[in-house]
Symmetry: D2
Subunit: 291 residues, 4 copies
């Protein structure tokens, strides 16, 4: 398997979409040297966005966590999270009443900007659910799994309401050797039990890519091609997970880079590409650029 | 849809296999009048067995719960539980070391009669798992879902060991209007996350039926046909759930009765039979026989 | 279940997206009186698009079939087919070589406009496949199922190439009482066999909606609101199938109408909405407007 | 990964269950030298049975094919095929009328010994199906896939009848480099389309193992242990496929041997065992015994 140099690859594109976890940071924090990558992007006038399935924190909170690590280039407006799609859905489709949620209070910020009242599932009274018009699964923390998942199942037996899953990941790493179950896997279990079709936002779904891509339309970009409008050919998607980042990027029509700093181990990359049939345009060791 | 009288139907068979929950009892206890059914079975010399996916309690404990309700005819040797298949598997296939489990202490009685040490998942030390040679999922109670399910996932990433699911049910009723998530649904979530194939015991799988059927081989049964050996034509399976009791009974070659006192509501029975293609030989309102 | 009048509902929107089969036409041809609907749309200055998973014919051919039925308002530029997404994908992501396909010669028109050579799977020589860089599943006709599906499986074992499914439907009606297997169901079978992840275009996927929605951006629409840019609130999606039209429209953020002239029978609509949890904004008997 | 010698392993068991394809034979015929294995089994007084998911031919025809290759020890009574389970099901559960089938005339022999009329799906008249009381999927040959699979779907929409799948394999090898789609994969496609639950016979399901195991009960076996009744500890299951042979053997409580002459390639065995969690007791290169 041929490994390409990230800087050489990225030089050919005007916009870079990055996945966050496993690409820019891991369970220990930002990847050492990642600020060099953003310095280079800014010095060459390239645009970039972070596309993340992490709906546990708002773009502001996420940006602050990058700033604490020294990556000042990542401003809130450059972060596109699946939680933002959940909010857009609620704005457009659920006009009134209460939205129940599974997740932390922090994750519920995505919901609080709509006209809806928000209620953690732990506070739902199953004997009086007529005002609950939607349920959103945001994060695996902030509730008691046994009590509140059973409550969720019973809520969905009483109310035929839309259920939105704002993070489709099944697991996430918590240390070099351990992973944790993410809300996406919990959502699949509940969906099977109640037999209903949930609405999922997040990679590989096209909607997250579209949300980011629409922001590019009014940009003026430097470089020789600056007067041409942005097209999908100008955008490179970078991720560590074949089934979300690479599949989603490919399907949206973007060139893709698989990096080996996260979910896909160097020794497994080739066999996984062959066995899944999900083929990145390039494979790079890391997005970190050495000076 | 034609409803048949249970006594008329059962009169044509020499042996009756009953599912427990939804057939003999519900969330409130034994069905009122169920003792009449067992009196009639005994007076007519019919054999009967209870085939249950409930591995949360031993046959002794289960029998005692029937006795407390007045159904003295149900002795421990007439109860065939999926937990017994889990124990047989461990006896035959896992010879030494420790078996970790998810479930209550009561459910772990199934495991304690083997030569293996048993360890609740809460007490597993993930940094020292080399002695753990199997994992058994017994019951949805007796552990902390968030902490211990994450621990389970990480155990299975470290040890390539057989995983036995001793209760394949996805949910069970806890009141007239509420259900709870059963360990079978949790097992599916973990199986998907770790990508491995678990070993399931319990209806509709043939092995539980076989386990009961083998007990019939040495029986001498009264009646005109008593000198003929028992065949599958002599056995009637009675259950409230199409996908476990009826599918499993049909596949094993038994005639089947769907009763409407549990998972299948009277108003839904016909549409469910048509939509699933799982066709009971008879449909009866209840197994309770009025005097 | 409350039935709404389509004209009353549609009056509140500026743009209507229609599914084709089961909404505008059925196995017998165009719905009688459908031309009234388009006359009314034109007289009130409403925009409309046809969003179809039918990749068996080009927009030109599809438009001609409407014209033969008297619906002259449906011009090729108003037809958005999943085949157009397949073509865009090939343009962006597969730059050279040959694309093999399953489908009729007519369906292959979608592929022929790219720089790629096209080859029906029947003409693929399995001993020389190094030039084949993509496979597209377009239609269930135009090939021998036994021979060519086996050939497809073996091609995908030799070449790790992207596979595009341009019609995700599982079946389609061919008469009042009969259905036929569509290429979407065949695609799922082959995907399971080869264990790879195919790329699917077509409802409920957001990309088909996005493709249509992007066409609205430069429109000037009449009416009181004509100077406001089009938003998702101005668009109504109309379909006969919950799992494609309604789920997809809802998720994209559009209001939705379920009509009862196709896949969803009047007597089943309520139970299907409840059992799937896919909830249309409105239910109408038909889009046909009586004078 | 440790490779064991088959003769050394088998010496510790009284009965050997063999899978056929990939173990005793491949697309070119019997494995060279396989007769030595059967000579040794007979000289040491070991019992053996062939457990096969191949319902395309009767035990007589299958035995003849072994005889033509020189393996005279394999008599029809030693062959247990999933077709025999299909026949037992029809005998017990479908008493009258017609059974339609997908498969060759040869495969239909399994059905012809019952009291039922048999009818290939190609001869079914969809306008008169009231006499059809079951459908059996036997083999991937003997019918036109396009025409007859569509006919099958429409039959199952008209008649709510049991559907039996007598071969659960998804593919089978036809040459060193090519595979073909087996009826098991076709069955899954149709099951998904019609939304009904089919009845599957064949490994890994316990019923095929049980069928073979019941034949052992009246045996008198030579050796030191000859006066003890046969137990599951005396039986060794040998197969080339983890998901059928090994999973099924393990679950039934047998020790298992994975051989590397069929579906599982030597270079893939270890990774497949780890990734599936299906763990054979032993891995052997082949069952062929060199003199």
């Amino acid at each position: 398997m041929q490994l390409d140099d990230f800087k050489n690859v990225a030089a050919n594109y005007r916009v870079i979409f990055f996945d966050a976890f496993g690409v820019l940071k891991n369970y220990e924090g930002l990847l050492p040297g990642i600020e060099n990558t953003f310095s280079w992007l800014q010095s060459t006038g390239k645009e970039f966005y972070i596309l993340t399935n992490d709906a546990s924190r708002s773009p502001q909170e996420l940006a602050e966590s990058y700033h604490r690590g020294g990556a000042y280039a990542i401003t809130p407006d450059r972060i596109i999270s699946s939680g933002m799609l959940a909010r857009e859905y609620l704005d457009l489709k659920v006009n009134h009443g209460t939205v129940a949620y599974l997740g932390t209070e922090g994750s519920a910020h995505y919901l609080e900007t709509t006209d809806l009242k928000t209620l953690p599932i732990s506070e739902v009274d199953l004997s009086d659910v007529s005002d609950i018009n939607a349920l959103v699964l945001l994060d695996d923390e902030g509730f008691d799994w046994n009590t509140d998942l059973n409550k969720t199942v019973n809520l969905l037996r009483r109310r035929n309401i839309p259920v939105i899953v704002a993070n489709t990941d099944e697991t996430y790493p918590v240390s070099k050797t351990r992973i944790a179950i993410a809300i996406g896997a919990v959502a699949e279990m509940i969906e099977t039990i109640v037999g209903k079709q949930f609405i999922r936002f997040g990679k590989p779904d096209a909607q997250l890519f579209m949300f980011a891509y629409e922001r590019l339309e009014h940009l003026t970009l430097p470089g020789n091609d600056s007067f041409k409008p942005i097209s999908k050919r100008d955008v490179l998607m970078v991720g560590d997970t074949l089934r979300t980042d690479i599949l989603g990027g490919n399907k949206f029509g973007l060139d893709t880079v698989l990096v080996l700093t996260g979910n896909t181990q160097p020794q497994d990359a080739e066999i996984q590409i062959r066995s899944t049939g999900i083929i990145p345009t390039y494979v790079c060791e890391s997005v970190v650029i050495s000076d």
